[in-house]
Amino acid sequence: MAEDLASRHVDVPADAADAAVLTRTPIHERHVALGARFTGFGGWEMPVRYGSIIDEHRAVRSAAGLFDLSHMGELWVSGPDAAVGLASALVSVPGRLAVGHAQYSLICAPDGGVIDDLIVYRTAPERFLVVPNASNREVVAAELASRLAGWAVELDDETLTTALLAVQGPAARAILQPLTNLDLGSLRSYAAAEARVAGSPALVARTGYTGEDGFELFVDWDDGPAAWDALLVAGASHGLLPCGLGARDTLRLEAGMPLYGNELDRRTTPFEAGLARFVHLDRSADPPRCRDFVGRAALEARAAGPLPRQLVGLVLRDRGIARHGYAVRRPGQPEPIGVVTSGSQSPTLGEAIAMAYVPPSDASTGTMLEVVIRDAAVAAEIVPLPFYRRTR
């Protein structure tokens, strides 16, 4: 175990040299006091778990979990051309959103490869919040600056002045409601509204990355700790646990949600990843200036032709756990036909689950394949995504 434990020590900033290169969120001291273990992620020092990842995961499925997501990017795009500018920069048309609503979107390179996936919120007619992954914030900010250069818009990166907390799980609404003046019952999925939370101004969004109902709260950096404390206190009687990036990863995997760097990268278009519905190719009903966007020609060609590979869900039928990078084969055949992008033991299902890219000819539900785990072939069956869908 020496190598893994040694590498783990590198993740834990035991000395100043490690910590110096990582940005800390405004909630950091709370995490330390809660006994969190930290990991470097996208240039940030983030809690990976406080106790047991499985306990944290189950809290979100059965009650609620509280996440510090202050590492995520907050890029504001505002001005008369904000809607059309973003439509030219992203694969979706954010101008279709009513004020107070959000959409999942992607930003692609001219060849159609995914630069990042992100959420776009429309908070005013000429004002949008773009939330990219922490690890891609700078490249997305640079791409947006370049792509929006000809438009009457202003781009502000407010990541380092914004705290983002998420409360996720079936009890999330009951926990948050007493802390806010917003009627959460009137806030639909993928809607967002400005309100007060724990005495501070906040943008409250009914979004998340866990497969559960829940809320994401954007507050000022300095208001983050008070909001965190209020949510922990309010959630205690509901079974809320603070949750780290470990549980966030297993929760999103069960929910079949892609993670940039695993399911998505520059060599992948949204179509292979099953994200075609977020690519607005037909813009005939949109304003003329919204019609073209970066990557359009490449994505139209990809949409018209056969896919080279397709993202599928796998459940292992023999003992073993499939991990990122493991080869996928047809039974009894030595040549790999695909690769695992994410995999873990599913705390909810009690089975080893994975997502993988395979040729479309091998992607039908029920197909039996093999995952190569340490030179051994382990049987795996293709199942529909997501692995888990909430019922309440």
């Binding site: 175990m1 020496a2 190598e3 893994d4 434990l5 783990r8 273990r37 990976v48 778990r49 047991s52 990842i53 499985i54 470990g246 990863d249 297993t250 003992r319 073993g320 756990i321 991990r323 873990s344 033991q345 705390p347 080893a352 340490r374």
Partner: protein
């Protein structure tokens, strides 16, 4: 951190309990704390002969897979079959129900070269 006095330890965070010319092997409480929830343990076939330092199995937490290394050379006499269905026993009782393999040692005297509890405790800073 629990580091029982009667055991021997390796730099790989494994423990070994000598029983005449046999030894029981597992991973330490420190290792389980570092790894988090154990969800999978792969152990060798009974009868296999292990060289000292040889990878003999794999332990997987929610997030990662790690090799297990033989602290000393010997033949595998038994493995903990319960871990196939209850890998969480490693977290719950690393020095008891979470044991992994029983070896017949090639040379029990080699155990003198492993760390005692005091040295191991110092290594893990506790």
């Amino acid at each position: 951190m629990d580091v029982p006095e009667a055991l021997r330890y390796t730099t790989d965070h494994e423990w070994l309990r000598l029983e005449s010319n046999e030894a029981v092997v597992g991973i330490t409480a420190y290792a389980t704390e570092e790894l988090g929830d154990i969800v999978f343990v792969e152990l060798p076939a009974v009868g296999r002969h292990l060289q000292a330092g040889e990878a003999f199995g794999v332990i997987e937490s929610v997030k990662t897979a790690s090799d297990l290394y033989a602290p000393l050379g010997g033949e595998v006499l038994a493995v903990n079959e319960d871990l196939a269905t209850q890998p969480e026993l490693v977290n719950a009782e690393p020095y008891a129900a979470g044991w992994m393999v029983r070896l017949r040692l090639d040379d029990p005297a080699m155990a003198d070269g492993l760390m005692d509890a005091g040295v191991y405790r110092a290594q893990i800073g506790g």
